[in-house]
Amino acid sequence: MTAGQAIATKDLTLSYGDTIIINELDLEIPKGEITVFIGGNGCGKSTLLRSIARLLKPKSGAVLLEGEAVAKLSTKDVARKMAILPQSPLAPEGLTVLQLVKQGRYPYQTWLKQWSTEDELKVRNALKATEMEELKDRTVDSLSGGQRQRAWIAMTLAQDTDTILLDEPTTYLDMTHQIEILDLLFELNEKEQRTIIMVLHDLNLACRYAHNIVAIKDQKVFAQGKPEHVINCGLVKNVFGMECEVTIDPLFGTPLCIPYGKGRCILKGQGLQG
């Protein structure tokens, strides 16, 4: 198992002040797969992702990147292996897409080597993969939500890392653009075998795109595994505190969660079998 792991945590404890968010967590995240963290609001899934990306210092324990403790590596070395796209990043006004994507090459720049042909190539490839070539001279603030998110993903691609972390990459996007972004990440994983680790709110999209689901509850991992193995009514009730039916997505065959609750029901009196 160790050969195939991109990231692992060992006895990882995270806290804000005295409040423990994640407690003594041992987690292994497989290489070359899409892993999605799920859980209720405030369960610590984003905190865990941030700590893996070394944006948050652990209270104790360690994050291992390809077997090495992240805290012991130089931050630029880490940036050449792992990219992070935080939740709703904000580009300074007037920054163009090209300027943004070029910043992704920062970890490769030194005093002697400011800008190389390789940097140029990686930036061009990143723009191509995200279909942002046509928009490269536009300013980031003039783009639509979906385009803007693609521009930021292009920046993380230019970073040319095996592992990409994304904190809720579909937040504030409409359904079309959510699918567009997730399809893009899925293709990156398929074509280039990049390890993708992200936090998603939408359980059904998580089931559709993830190879590996990590459900977090009570400072621990409640369950981990393939969506079709771990997602069921019991888990949703436990992790989200919500009653639901889990059926099968008619298009993809992945688990599809249908919550109970109030609303206009046209099947009333006919039973729910229809």
């Binding site: 931050t75 940036a79 990219a83 992070i84 935080p86 006004e93 910043q103 920062y106 970890p107």
Partner: protein, 333 residues
Amino acid sequence: MLLKTNFLRWAGLLTAVLLLLVLMSFSIVYGYTDTTWKMAFDAFTNFDGTNEHIIIQSVRLPRALIAASVGASLAIAGVLLQSLTKNPLAAPEIFGINAGAGFAVVITVALFSISNLQVFTWVSFLGAAVSFIFVYIIGSIGREGLTPMKLTLAGAAMSAMFASMTQGFLVINETALEQVLFWLAGSVSGRKLETLAAVFPYLLAGWIFSLIIAGKLNVLSMGEDVAKGLGLKTGMLKLGAGIATVLLSGGAVAVAGPIGFLGIVIPHLTRAVVGIDHRWVIPYAGLLGGMLLLIADIASRYIIMPQEVPVGVMTAVIGTPFFVYIARRGFNK
């Protein structure tokens, strides 16, 4: 953005350097004492000890050099602070730097009855540095370290405290009031070349260091998390930018007293000209800052001739309409 290509930006930089030199020459030649370009030229090549030559060498030259260096330093300090705090209104004066310097000078006059401009230089440098270091430390307390909001609030609090203590001292001690009033308005006149020479190494270090960190400031401008994710040591960079700010604005206030508005206005003007890349913004801001203070200083000689308006008043007069313009235009455009 006015200059869109790198060729235009290099050309603009060269033009700005030339304009700065032209303005410095104007500052040397024009003023209350009637002098001509020939006299100014002779004063340096063929000094004959006449009144005009003495004025040119010992009054006008230091004044031109001081205006250029102080203007450049305040403008660059403004760029650093606006970048550090992501606050478009950030400038040295709102981080307690001027208030700290002013308080230190008033204390010196009121308690030790010293009113020597040379002494003021070091006292105000010290006051500015101590005040900004306090602001920086208060702004850094807490889990997330230095955040723009905490830094801005700490600056506002520290400024208010020093300003009211200064006023308290001045009310109690009227002699001090008379002696420091001109200093408190900010001026580049009546300073010796030695005053500038004493702080010039600090200013120069501040300029060079700002240019060195310009590329890293670009990375930081994309947000703390993104910058850290790209492998930037954000804590170190902020500390470095903080030190450069102390050197630049502390040095500036030491030579010229508190001069407002330049630090706010010039960074905005510069971004309108060259865009947001700090590698261009910092050198341009320095040049434009020097130019604006030279213009303000030359204008200050002619408004109520034979008297002079303190240049700090002039920058405010020029700066305020611009300030209103920025506010009305909105910061997001």
